[in-house]
Amino acid sequence: MNVPMKRRGWITAVLAAVLAAATACTSSGTPAPRPNPTDPPAETARPGVLRILAGSELQDLAPVLEDARKATGVTVQFSWTGTLDGADAVSSGRADGKYDAVWFPSNQYLRLDPAGKSKVLSETPVMVSPVAVGVRTSVLGELGWGDGSKVTWAQIGDAAAAGKLPYGMSDPSRSNSGFSGLVAVASAFSGAQAALTEADVQKAAPRLKQFFTDQKLTSGSSGWLAQAYTRAEPGKVGALVNYESVLLSLNRTLPPEQRLTVVRPVDGVVSADYPLSLLSSAAQSERESFQRLTSYLLKEDVQKRISEVTLRRPVTAGAAPASELPADRRRELPFPGTRAVADGLLAAYQNELRRPSRTVYVLDTSGSMEGSRLNALKAALGRLTGADDTRGVRRFRDREEVTLLSFASKVKWTKTHAVPASGSQPDPQAELASINADVQSLSASGGTALYDSLEEAYRVIERQQAAAGDDRFTSIVLMTDGESNEGATDADFKRFHDGLPAGEKAIPVFPIRFGEAAVSQLQGVADLSGGKLFDGTGSLDGVFEEIRGYQ
């Protein structure tokens, strides 16, 4: 409902701007109506507005950007995406003309691609935050780490390998904080003296694998990771790999027993420097807006304010950092210098190093899915079985257990596939092809027994866990295009969920809204299970891919 209204809003705004510009040719000039910072970026450029594709953590800059607007007349309008997805959008040219600038925690990954590099005209780091490990104070004491100021990656690795440091880290294929954390541990564990090489990654693999056995939370974004930490059972998660700024900001809202001590390992960190980056495709008037905004953001007093508001570090020597930020320096671990090393590290993480996943897809194949909807579902899920995925951002991973559950008035069928490790016989490709065959066999008919089918997914997982006796990242994706109209009700499901053992209660459900899906039902399921609602009404492809970061 909201979407078309909003769209009409900006079309009106653009038309008004054009009219204002047109009348300005003959009269002495009427000011254009003020653009709204919370509006989504328009398809076409507009003087005084910078359309920026950015990482969602920059939402915390809103008060600073509002001041910037008053001082410079430049309104920033954001579109949010992950750092690595954003790099893809720039490299492929999808950002050309649609955005004037990009603003991610880091351009390191973007810069490794010659096509991406040539799309950026100018980059200005605006603030800095190292990726650190936030350790719950009680855990810090148990590990004998004092105030946390002398901890090394080796100690962190040993604690995790011994199961004493259950932690959360965002998906490195999606999120810069996860990627930076992965680079840091791979550097430390390989003993690499300089930038990582492929040989270093291989050398570090056994210790990395041990380290990742204690990773209990994963996430497609650093923001959701912080939320998941807050709602996890006490004691289940003792640490978070995240930006220093996110950890310190989180502490401002957490009860004392949940607060995190920020550990910047003494043997080195990887820092994000948030370069505001002008795209080569931007027009002259936007280039000027960009320059006005960057000069404003680099002023000493503004830098001080940025640091106080966001708890990131200023990039101007004269600006004082926020008082929470410790002044002692850390070695900066180099970022990989080639795409081959970076992508190799990501693929190794997904397919060899991380704890494997158990993923259940609960798919609505009721009568209303017939035709283009079912075709869209088949295409989107089918893409997850493709092999053209150099950094493991999309496809089902080696060692992943994938269950498809097709339902309408009742569960029609359930099929489970275990993708083997690479190098085994048959190889992962054969199993991926077999998953795709099941996807393509989906057919639509019947009603929508949403909650009955979701309950069945929990029972499937329970049986799988009992049979395998393993410990996997476990999650459920629930895709529907309608409202539950048969079987259990939302109240029934609530009772069912309340009665689940703790381990199953913690399984997040990621509902996808599609067609005429009942948003309130789906949001209820997401909230109850600690999942997150995704909107597939625009593109089912993009949503299935995005959810991979949470699985």
Partner: protein
């Protein structure tokens, strides 16, 4: 309504004098000014954005639109961007490439220059001095010992092998200087060229055999840095934020500008490599307006003073910078590089320089 139509309307609106309504607090009236558009190395961005510089140029009838970018990528952008009046990279080599792309023959102006330096923190400079890697003369000027540095690079020497106080745990891993990407930024390319000169027994590399002989160390010095930034502003910003490598290769002007403008530089120390190179800021004018700008930057007395204020040494009055920074105790700037025993050398030919940067990056070019 197509993008182009909207752009045209917006442009008309700007010409019609709406600038004032849309963009408050900005600049003098547009009607008398001629717009000059060009690309500049990112180290000159704040110069061209300064209200004082804009006012002085406006007095001379010019309004300059300068897009900051890496000096090497500038040659590509100069080729692909229509309507440019000038390009202003940070050294002669990319300037020659742009001239070649634009089919120009005449010798371009070099209104100001700046020596390449190694920026570090005060305590790190002292540790380097105590380990005979750096020196400070009686006037307080720091020099960085290039031969010793290249020997350390070749040996893969680590900070842990030097005498480093225990509280400096951030000084770990191999000793190296961070530069920008030599394929996109001229300070990075000049870093590679400087190493090649030292490696080639203090001779300018002039043939393929010498390129081959220097290749292993150049490649090592580059790959060990991992991902490199594309313009000199970025590593210096990280340095000011207290992150990144403690040794950063950059322009004297980056630090001098802060001092000349009375801003804090924290504990920043400028070390002059005992063998270094100047970055000759070279302006390639393509149009009459571009030529007018070039002449003003070289000859206008008020602009020269402003150039010094932004840390550069004006060609026609090199002391202008010293007058602004001579009373600062830290960082200390060398008034006279020869007196500070800093040797200079010549940049290799463009062809050789490209071979050297390709060797440093691993041969793909």
């Amino acid at each position: 309504m197509g993008r182009r139509a909207l752009g045209v309307l917006a442009a008309l609106a700007l010409l019609g004098g709406v600038t004032y309504a849309l963009i408050p607090d900005d600049g003098p009236e547009a009607k008398k000014l001629v717009t000059v558009t060009g690309l500049v190395g990112s180290e000159k961005r704040s110069f061209f954005e300064s209200p004082e510089v804009k006012a002085e140029l406006a007095k001379q009838g010019l309004e300059v639109h300068a897009d900051p970018t890496g000096s090497w990528t500038m040659s590509e952008q100069a080729r692909s961007t229509p309507g440019l009046d000038f390009a202003f990279p940070a050294s002669t080599a990319p300037a020659r490439e742009i001239q070649r792309n634009w089919g120009q023959q005449d010798s371009p102006l070099v209104p100001f220059y700046s020596p390449l330096v190694v920026v570090t923190h005060a305590e790190v400079a002292q540790i380097l001095r105590d380990n005979n890697r750096a020196a400070q003369d009686a006037s307080g000027v720091w020099t960085f010992k290039m031969d010793q540095y290249v020997a350390d690079l070749k040996a893969g020497r680590r900070w842990q092998e030097l005498n480093v106080p225990a509280e400096h745990s951030e000084l770990a891993g191999p000793i190296f200087v961070t530069s920008t990407d030599p394929e996109s930024s001229s300070s990075g390319a000049l870093y590679v060229a400087l190493l090649s000169y030292i490696l080639n027994n203090h001779q300018v590399v002039s043939d393929d055999a010498a390129v081959e002989a220097t290749r292993p160390v150049l490649h090592q010095a580059t790959t060990m840095q991992g991902g490199q930034k594309s313009s000199s502003d970025e590593p210096f910003r990280d340095f000011q934020a207290g992150v990144g490598n403690p040794l950063v290769f950059g322009y004297e002007s980056q630090v001098a500008a802060l001092v000349a403008q009375g801003q804090s530089t924290g504990d920043t120390v400028v070390m002059y490599p005992d063998t270094t190179i100047y970055s000759d800021h070279t302006i390639i004018a393509r149009t009459d307006n571009g030529r007018k700008l070039a002449a003003l930057l070289q000859d206008d007395e008020a602009l020269r003073t402003l150039e010094a204020k932004f840390g550069f040494r004006p060609q026609a009055r090199p002391d202008a910078l010293n007058d602004l920074v001579k009373n600062t105790r830290q960082p200390v700037f060398a008034q006279n590089l020869a007196a500070a025993k800093v040797k200079q050398w010549q940049v290799p030919s463009l062809d050789i320089l490209q071979k050297l940067t390709a060797a440093a990056k691993g041969g793909q070019k």
